[in-house]
Amino acid sequence: MKATETEIKINNLNVFHGNHHTLKNINIEIPKQKITVILGSSGCGKTTLLKCLNRLTDLYSNIKVNGEIIINGEDILHSKEDITNIRRKMGLLSQMPYPLPMNIYNNIAYGLKISGRKKKKYLNKRVEYYLKQINLWEEVKDRLKDPASSLSLGQQQRLCLARGLTVDPNIILADEPTSALDPVSSNAIEELFLNLKQHYTTVLVTHTLRQAKRIADYVVFMYLGEIIEQGPADEFFNNPKMEKTKSYLRGTSN
């Protein structure tokens, strides 16, 4: 087995919201085609970290981002490349499903269309392909023209995952994607992540320890904007080094 390659390298990342130092000296090497779980209680900066990765931080006023995020040898924070191309390399799954205000078919086709694919036949094939990939095809194939908001939350979240895949990303960013879902839908999403992992580098934010244990290959534990400990999942869960990690693991597991 070859040694794990690094997909994303974060160097000395610091983020300020006004005077609030939200992320402090973050250094992570996110391994390729593995599931990296970012763990920590709410408010510790997980969402902010994720938003730095595809520069959604650009959309906020009063925010300052310093440091480097290197993907494919290029620092995306200071890159001259078009930001839309950078974002297309990453699919985003947010805490709540935000289906686009259109029908199920077009939710999937949207990403293809804005990448310049317009042929009806091609679109039909790809829509089916992506819906099958997230096990939604059988459930929706007869109602592709219905608004996406008519689906259940769990279905919507799977649809959003598929929508993110249509722009052909290498990376999937997911921000507590199951926190609003019922257990069955959560499991479906987790399973999808495990299936997709051989093709995609996944960065998953969660504050449920059990979920992290089930699917993580690599774990980053954060507390109040700092990384307390990070490492391969086995090591992190079975042999934590820092006192804060130990008490965190104890606290949630008993």
Binding site: S42, L59, N62, T84, S94, Q95, P101, S179
Partner: protein, 314 residues
């Protein structure tokens, strides 16, 4: 000492009083317009232009003013729309990360909203004189559009602001450009509120007299080009009411009745559309609430265990 109960009663009386003042005011206005205008209102009034001597009580109608007002406010609303929609999209998609600038823009627009329409009329007049334009439909359309634009922008903006940030982020994260986000995603989400804003603005445009006082002129014929002057309903009311002849005065009330009816229909339409919109929003809100409650439960459980942990640490 005032007890809770007397305090309560005082406020109750105040509330009932002010509510009745409003309702009475409305009924009085509607009543007097109806009593004086309705008997005079006839098919002839709605379908004919003034004949010679109309303003001394002879035959004819106010078709010139009805058509003129519709031309004027349709034109002005259209003109305002093609300015207001891009501006409000620009504010809410392109300037999403410029909070301070947005606050300034919104403040300025609110100021413009508050400027009395007679000032727009005077401004329109200055521009007309400058360009050597005569009083005309076009000059009126431009002036009323200027007056309506801030209203329309803010009406759209207030609803656009409520579009969840998550949706915008999702659009961007798919690699959409700003214009794709604005027109292909954001706009689709807000179409009902755009329609509402346009209808409300139309109501404002057709009802205003001061902004067209100097700019549209007045004529007894229906305008056949943008450069001709035109009659309008508010000014029809004004001129006829200034007449000493009671019959003509009653025609002013009939004209007012027509104007009120048009505005009523428009705002009813706006109401229906925005209610449909509200209905949808309500469903979304419900869904969000359900999610939120679910999420809160998880969070609470989590916090509980967190507190336990903290305790066990100490």
């Amino acid at each position: 000492m005032m007890t809770k109960k007397t305090e309560e009663n005082i406020f109750k009386v105040l509330m009932v009083l002010s509510t009745s003042i409003i309702i009475c005011g409305f009924l009085l206005i509607m009543g007097s317009v109806l009593i004086k205008g309705l008997p005079t209102l006839s098919i002839e009034m709605l379908t004919e232009v003034p004949q010679g001597g109309y303003y001394f009580g002879k035959g004819g109608g106010i078709l010139n003013a009805i058509v003129g007002s519709l031309y004027l406010s349709l034109g002005a609303t259209f003109l305002a729309f093609i300015v207001a929609l891009p501006v409000s999209l620009f504010m809410n998609v392109y300037l999403i990360n410029k909070n301070k600038l947005l606050n300034v823009i919104r403040y300025l627009l609110d100021l413009l909203w508050g400027v009395p329409s007679i000032v727009y009329g005077a401004f329109g007049f200055i521009i007309m004189v400058y360009f050597g334009l005569r009083t005309s439909l076009l000059a009126g359309i431009i002036t009323v559009a200027l007056f309506v634009i801030p209203i329309m922008i803010r009406a759209m903006d207030e609803v656009f602001k409520t579009v969840p940030r998550g949706l915008i982020e999702v659009a961007f994260s798919l690699g959409s450009t700003k214009s794709e986000t604005a027109f292909k995603v954001f706009f689709k989400q807000v179409i009902p509120s755009v329609v509402t804003a346009v209808l409300l603005s139309f109501g404002r445009a057709i009802g205003d007299a001061a902004s067209i006082l100097f700019t549209t002129g007045y004529t007894d014929s229906i305008p056949t080009s943008l450069l001709e002057p035109t009659a309008t309903l508010p000014l029809a009311v004004f001129f006829q009411l200034s007449s000493p002849i009671p019959e003509v005065q009653n025609r002013a009330y009939a004209s007012a009745l027509v104007l009120i009816l048009i505005i009523l229909i428009i705002s009813l339409l706006a109401r229906i559309i925005s209610n449909k919109n509200n209905l949808k929003k309500f469903n979304i809100k419900n869904a969000v609430n359900k999610r939120f409650i679910y999420y809160k439960n998880i969070r609470n459980n989590y916090n509980l265990s967190y507190k336990k942990r903290r305790k066990s640490q100490q």
